[in-house]
Every structure is written in structure tokens, then in C-alpha cells.
């Protein structure tokens, strides 16, 4: 059962990890919202080292507001978003309050 549903606000865990993982550093610690559920997948963090990737993890397409994410570096219109595949173990529930995604 997937822990999050479309529309849920989620925060990407800001963990350092020296081994293989698929969470880009530029979204670590940032708040987005679940755009879509992409199903269960083998965990690449163990799969990369010869294991079977079990248990499988829910994968989410998480939307980040471009302005929130990049601040003044982004000069496009409000409403543009970045969608990133994020595995469930990298997500935690975020408060519904607007914190600009920088919390």
C-alpha cells in the first residue's frame, strides 16, 4: 500500500548517501507534492550491488515548483514545475503550510 497519494505534500529526506541511489541532491530537503504514483519497483540501492532489490518500493513522480526550487535562478513563469521520480524511502510527509519548499 503506497504511503502517499496524489496531491500529498512530501519532503525529500536530506540524507547523505555514499552508495548508489537515485535521489538527485538538488531536491534533497525540498518540499514538493505527489503528482502521480508510478508503481512498485525493485530498490535500486540494493539492486545495484547484486541483490534482488526486494522488498520493492513505491515510486512517485513528485512535482517541485520551479520558483520554489531555484529562486531567482529561474526566470520562467510561475506554474512551471519539475517532476522527479522519487522512491518512497526518500519521502516523508510535509506540513500543508506554505514554506516555499525550502523547509
Amino acid at each position: 500500500m503506497a504511503r502517499f497519494q496524489p496531491g500529498d505534500r512530501v519532503k525529500v529526506i536530506a540524507a547523505e548517501m555514499a552508495t548508489h541511489h537515485r535521489t538527485p541532491s538538488y531536491i534533497k530537503g525540498r518540499v514538493g507534492r505527489v503528482h502521480a504514483l508510478s508503481g512498485l519497483w525493485p530498490n535500486p540501492e540494493t539492486l545495484a550491488y547484486g541483490a534482488d532489490g526486494k522488498p520493492e518500493r513505491d515510486l512517485y513522480l513528485v512535482a517541485f515548483d520551479m520558483k520554489d526550487l531555484w529562486g531567482e535562478r529561474f526566470d520562467g513563469p510561475a506554474g512551471d514545475v519539475l517532476l522527479v521520480d522519487v522512491y518512497e524511502q526518500w519521502l516523508e510527509a510535509a506540513e500543508a503550510s506554505a514554506d516555499g519548499g525550502k523547509a
Binding site: R73, D75, G76, V81
Partner: protein, 217 residues
């Protein structure tokens, strides 16, 4: 004995040659490393001796024309488009395109309101099962780092100016889903056949840095 030098390991070679390798080509350090790894994986039985070549052949057999066939079918057959968006793998199989490996495919539909652009910031994930090998720029550090920060600027450099009234969605393909953009059907193509439409679907339009070509008047 093979003609290239190995650095970093000294296992015995069994006098085999790499098929088709040119003796006068100086291999880069990275190319030598890849060949050494491939040999080791084959020696240890992790991969079959011909497995890598089989995959290269498979990918070489695919090109953006294959993706264009899928797009043109979706443009001309609303039921097919529905199936393509709901179950891309099955819809591709209908046209004779099996996916290889563990990766699956997702289709992103561009509309009057939304334009999708695909990038892989971590490496160079690309729907090779359908489109063949990615272009070099897709793998470049410049594209991968800039597409997520300045997508509209990057698209302008490709000749595409997306209006402010259209929401741009950049998709960073970091997992095992491969993304295919379903571009909009150009206006003025109402009477065109599927074959004529195929010629309008560019590789760039299926990555999102471009749109489908306008028909020649």
C-alpha cells in the same frame, strides 16, 4: 593476444580478439575500462559472451522513426492513443515494439496547456527500446544540468519558444521509467496519411526540446 592494453588488471587472455576492432584506433581510458569489464563479466559467466553485442544490435535496430510510428498512430487513432497512455508497454507491442530490460515506458502527452521536456540528470536514461540510442547532447553535462534550471532557455536554443501561457513540466528520469513525449499533432495535417504524418515526428519532439514539424504547404 588482443591488440589493446589493459590497465588495472592482469588476468590471462585466451588469445581472443575483439570482433571488428580496428588496430589503429587509440582507445580512451574509459573505453579500455569498459572492454575490460565486459570481458571479466563474460569470463565469470555473469553475461553471455554475445549478450552485449545482442543488445547493441537491438538498440541499433531502433531509431526515432519507430517512435514516430507510435506517435502518428496515436494521432490518427484515438482508441490507440488511449491505450498508449494507459498501458504503453502493451500499446507498443501492438506495433511490434517489445521493451527490453527492466525499464518500463511512460508516455507524456503535450497539449495546448502543458509542454513536457525529458532529461536524466543522474546519467542518460532514454527510451532506447523505442528510439534507439540517445543523441550526444542528451548525455552532455550542459543539457543535463541546464534543462532542470532553465528549460525554456534550453528549448529556445533548440528553436522552440514555449509561450508563457503554457505550463512547462520538466521530467527528471531518475528511476527505471523511460519517458516518451507524445507531441501535439500540427495544425493543417487533418487530411494526411499515417505515413505522411510519420515524417513530421522528429526525435527532438519526442524528447520535448522540439515540436512536430509543420506540413510543407
Amino acid at each position: 593476444m588482443s591488440t589493446h592494453t589493459h590497465q588495472g588488471h592482469d588476468h590471462a587472455h585466451d588469445g581472443h580478439e575483439h570482433e571488428g576492432m580496428l588496430e589503429d584506433v587509440e582507445l580512451s581510458e574509459r573505453a579500455r575500462r569498459v572492454l575490460a569489464m565486459e570481458e571479466l563479466l563474460a569470463e565469470k559467466g555473469v553475461i553471455g559472451a554475445s549478450e552485449v553485442q545482442r543488445l547493441i544490435d537491438f538498440q541499433g535496430a531502433r531509431s526515432p522513426v519507430d517512435g514516430a510510428r507510435v506517435v502518428a498512430r496515436a494521432w490518427t487513432d484515438p482508441d490507440y492513443k488511449r491505450r498508449l497512455l494507459a498501458d504503453p508497454e502493451a500499446a507498443l507491442l501492438e506495433l511490434g515494439y517489445p521493451l527490453v530490460g527492466s525499464a518500463k515506458l511512460a508516455v507524456l502527452e503535450n497539449t495546448d496547456a502543458v509542454h513536457h521536456l525529458v532529461v536524466c540528470t543522474l546519467c542518460s536514461c532514454y527510451p532506447t527500446s523505442l528510439l534507439g540510442l540517445p543523441p550526444d547532447w542528451y548525455k552532455s553535462f550542459a543539457y543535463r544540468s541546464r534543462a532542470v534550471v532553465d528549460p525554456r532557455g534550453v528549448m529556445r536554443e533548440f528553436g522552440l519558444d514555449v509561450g508563457d501561457g503554457v505550463e512547462v513540466r520538466v521530467v527528471d528520469s531518475t528511476a527505471d521509467l523511460r519517458y516518451l513525449v507524445l507531441p501535439q499533432r500540427p495544425t493543417g495535417t487533418e487530411g494526411m496519411s499515417e505515413d505522411e504524418l510519420i515524417a513530421l515526428v522528429t526525435r527532438d519532439s519526442m524528447v520535448g526540446v522540439g515540436v512536430a514539424l509543420a506540413p510543407v504547404a
